[in-house]
Amino acid sequence: MAEDRTSEFLALVRSLPEGSQPTQIEVPSTLTSGNVSGRYNNNRNNNNNNSNSNNDSSYAQLRDFHTTAAGISRDIAATSSMLKDLTQLVKQKSLFQDDTAKVNDLVVHIKASIENLNGRLDAAGRQIAQQKRTLGKNSQPAQEATNMVGQLQEEFGQAAAGFKTILQQRTNLLKETTDRKRDIYGAQEDVPVLNLENRPPVYNYDQPTGSTALTGFPTLDLTSGMTAGEPTGSQLPRPHGVANYETSSSMRLRHASTSDSIPTFSGSASSYYGRQNSTPLTPWDIQRMEQESGQDQLMQLIPDQDYLRERADAMEQVESNIVELGTIFNRLAVMVNEHKDMVQRVEDNVDEANSMINLSLNTLTDTLTNLQTNRALFFKVFSILVVFIISFIIFFA
């Protein structure tokens, strides 16, 4: 239960300049409150200018940075609200109502904004690194800005992870609906599980866009996630935005060539590192590929067994890749957690500083005693010398 005493305080302050403060040596007071505040404002600015003139440029930079940060966080908020919409759409498990267009739209939007955000976050990080040089590494403004970027990155990571789970959900749901449709419209018994071609031609898909061009299969680039593992890079996966649209034939070739080099799930992280230069594709692209492959299916009314088998393989590939991506994201989550563990309690900083001070005090006292003992030694040697000289003078002179 907090008690707001702002108005009481303001009333008190306003009552002051009129009577009780004759000693005040200031500009003759103008009594309306608006003027008063304006004057104070000016004063403050003057003070600021006087004391901080040398630092002005770096503060201006900081100010810039703050506005950028605010922009980024606003966009993160927008993205997460879009994500919420997407979740809702995905969770509607209706068999016949299909919001593919809407979902696609949202996915594209979110993907774009995530890419955009990632770039801006990186830029902000660089800006901070630069400013640290001008402000000094441990200065409080720099710390503040670094913390801010850290928090933004964490939030961004969360949003991206949320996106991932939604995509996963969406894939599962799509598969489920396919299964259900098959159940309803009857399936041929002798086909393997993942043969997607068995959708009966009877079913009329209500497709608003109907893009007829055959678009490519996904190749999955795991390096996009792995940049996170590198100590120098940003902490977050960096989506390489370009989705590759290629003709299906060349696509198939590529697929054949890369599929054997895609590491197994149990493989260690290091095995991913060698493949930096293969064509990148991000998890969000998978979603789109899913969509598009669904559309393709409609076009493909005449079953071509070889081609379809290949597609089924590709599906599997995509699925296993999603799982792999999942591990990457998890590793990322662990990293974020570790980052959190570093500073847990508010006192920690102070405690550390305290112990440092104690340590330095100890060192100082040690040095002091050291010096003192040296001095004692010096005195001893000197006194012995004097005794010798005196005895020398007495006995030989």
Partner: protein, 653 residues
């Protein structure tokens, strides 16, 4: 003891208030849980800097970790009196005590224009005079613009657990029992305590009925508090809770000096007793490879989260051996789960890809949570081990047993046997350390009406035992130990003096044995325990054997009995002679008259002890809490036995 988080407790109310403060005192009720929180930096959750002083830091630190603060948009948290650099344009939230020095620092900050707008929050009431001074400063420096708001938060208490709080007043027992304290000092101390309690009441938001014994510090505090609540403009108007009024019981430490001194047997209390335990943080030294020539000692620090940590919240009130046993079992279970997940992840050659993929994904998702749990359990293992080492080295169970039987009055008719037993334990230099022996003597004085000569004899035996040479030929006490011995003797002298003035409640059965069958349950525990010993390994097992005798004895301490009587309105008990103050009613209320009416049952109780509380009392009180009744416990400060002994010693000198 695990409480659902939705329940409104003192801690959750305080947390809510802090959240509101961090949201610049705008209405932040919508964003109470972390998931619905808008991203930091947006218009509802701005970036800000938190600036606090020492006492306020100790209020915040058990409530919020750094990362939680970050989520609330706090990018930096700085001490008020540390050196601070300008960070322009960022709003600052000040949270500190309303003192002259603090206000001067704030005014200086404003005049330097360190930050953007300043939101001032004071932990208790900002006096009108101080406010006037501050206003003058602000006008002189011409920085009225930069002050965005002034709020009194009434949060002046440290909430360590859902139902445990402390006012963090140092040496509170000395403060009002010391002979050197002037009338004015005592008055000031009591006002401080009343302010603290008012914060508690205000945070709870309900007007309590105050009960306290007549005379002395409790009455003083109760009357002050009563007036504060009655004079407060908004608190009384809150009529929503008029049916079930909470009960606030204010007690005096002098009524029961034994509890903080006595040895204990439950997990949390032992941690507090054996290790350094402050504000939910445990510290202890661990010796690494003791077999090596130069054993290294490493200091370990752990933060305990009594409400979030499932193991701790389940076992903090359980007897120590039980905690050890279930720790072992839990750890095994978690390791097995982890193993199964890891093997699943490794065995990739399963042919059916569609189901394994999701399985795998789920398993991998659950792994971090599992690892987190394992980490927690391992932390508890090392804490348990450290406690065990101490317990085994000091023969704590023997002290515990003897003290318990003294306190429960088993020696009532046999003073000479009591003395013989105490003397036997006190004179044996191999058993326990100085503190343990002194505590035993204190309990002996407080529980029996042994003759002064007997007491002197026991005390002398302790002194003698500690001054004999140890096995390795070195004296048992270093310089510090000798000082402690002296202080302990002074404490004993003080208690003797109190006793001779008949100021101590000298009932031989200060703690009554619970008549429930739990007392007979010792054999059950032992059988369970045998199983545990076979599972545990090494030193833990050997030493745990010694603690097994700690089981099976549960008795109610003084505070617990009083609270129970007051709650159940037992006629002929404390209910009759305690004061009954109701802030809604002017003057005292006669309990006898109330008996005629139908009094509604008590749902919420806050027990408050003036002069220091301890974990064993807290645990004992929770025994009488149930579904219909929650009991919060608070005190001026939380002391362990050593600190309390030192305070007694200060009084003796």
């Amino acid at each position: 003891m695990a409480l659902s988080t939705s329940q409104i407790t003192l801690k959750s109310s305080q947390l809510k208030a802090v959240y509101r403060m961090l949201a610049f005192n705008e209405d932040a009720d919508a964003f109470e849980d972390e998931f619905s929180l808008p991203p930091t930096g947006s218009s509802h959750n701005q970036w800000k800097i938190l600036i606090y002083d020492g006492p306020c830091r100790s209020i915040i630190s058990p409530l919020l970790s750094v990362s939680q603060l970050r989520k609330r948009g706090v990018t930096l948290h700085l001490l008020l009196n540390s050196e601070r650099e300008p960070i322009p344009d960022v709003p600052a939230v000040y949270f500190c005590r309303p003192t002259k020095e603090n206000l001067a620092i704030i005014a200086k900050d404003c005049s330097k224009g360190l930050y953007g707008r300043c939101h001032l929050n004071f932990v208790t009431k900002l006096d009108r005079a101080l406010m006037e001074d501050f206003a003058k400063l602000v006008v002189q420096t011409g920085t009225l613009e930069s002050i965005a708001g002034v709020h009194d938060q009434y949060l002046d208490f440290v909430c360590l657990e859902q139902q445990l709080f402390s006012l963090a007043k140092k040496d509170s027992y000395v403060q009002y029992n010391g002979s050197g304290a002037s009338e004015q000092m005592i008055e000031q101390a009591m006002t401080d305590i009343a302010y603290g309690l008012f914060s508690v009441v205000a945070t709870q938001g309900k007007v309590p009925i105050i009960r306290c014994p007549k005379g002395g510090a409790p009455e003083m505090v109760a009357r002050k508090l009563n007036r504060m609540i009655a004079e407060h403009p908004t608190l009384l108007r809150n009529k929503s809770s008029s049916l079930h009024r909470p009960l606030l019981v204010i007690l005096d430490r002098n009524a029961d000096l034994i509890t903080p001194i006595q040895h204990t047997s439950t997990y949390q209390a032992l941690v507090d007793d054996m290790l350094t335990h402050k504000a939910n943080r445990v510290e202890f030294d661990v010796t690494i490879d003791a077999s090596a020539k130069r054993p290294k000692t490493v200091q370990k620090k752990f933060d305990l989260e009594p409400d979030e940590d499932p193991f701790y919240s389940r076992h903090k009130f359980n007897p120590f051996p039980e905690a050890i046993e279930s720790n072992g079992m839990d750890l095994q279970e978690v390791s097995a789960k982890e193993q199964s997940i890891r093997s699943k992840a490794a065995g990739n050659g399963v042919p059916d890809p569609s189901s394994t993929a999701t399985d795998l994904a789920n398993a991998v998702d659950s792994l971090p949570a599992l690892l987190e749990r394992k980490k927690q359990l391992e932390m508890h293992t090392s804490i348990l081990q450290a406690v065990m080492d101490q317990v085994a080295a000091r023969d704590v169970p023997q002290f515990f047993e003897l003290e318990t039987s003294l306190a429960t009055g088993s020696y009532k008719n046999d003073a000479s046997r009591a003395k013989a037993d105490v003397l036997h334990l006190a004179a044996d230099p191999a058993k326990g350390n100085l503190e343990d022996k002194l505590r035993l003597v204190v309990v002996y004085i407080l529980t029996t009406n042994a003759k002064t000569a007997d007491v002197d004899e026991v005390a002398a035996a302790v002194q003698e035992a500690m001054e004999t040479l140890g096995e390795d030929g070195k004296p048992r006490l270093d310089k510090l130990g000798k000082q402690n011995l002296e202080a302990g003797m002074k404490a004993i002298g003080y208690l003797k003096q109190l006793r001779s003035m008949h100021m101590l409640p000298l009932s031989t059965a200060l703690q009554e044995i619970e008549s429930e069958p739990k007392a007979a349950g010792g054999s059950v525990f032992t059988s369970v325990f045998n199983k545990a010993t076979s599972q545990a390994t090494g030193l833990l097992a050997k030493a745990a054997d010694r603690v097994s005798s700690m089981l099976g004895k549960i008795h109610k301490h003084y505070a617990t009995r009083v609270v129970e009587n007051l709650c159940e309105m037992q006629p002929g008990s404390e209910d009759d002679d305690f004061l009954y103050l109701d802030p809604r009613v002017k003057g005292d209320v006669d309990v006898q008259k109330l008996r005629m009416m139908n009094r509604s049952p008590v749902r919420e109780v806050t027990a408050f002890v003036i002069g220091g509380g301890c974990y064993s009392e807290y645990q004992n009180l929770q025994m009488i809490a149930n579904d219909r009744r929650t009991i919060s416990y608070g005190s001026t400060e939380l002391v362990d036995a050593g600190e309390f002994l030192a305070q007694l010693g200060q009084l003796g000198s």
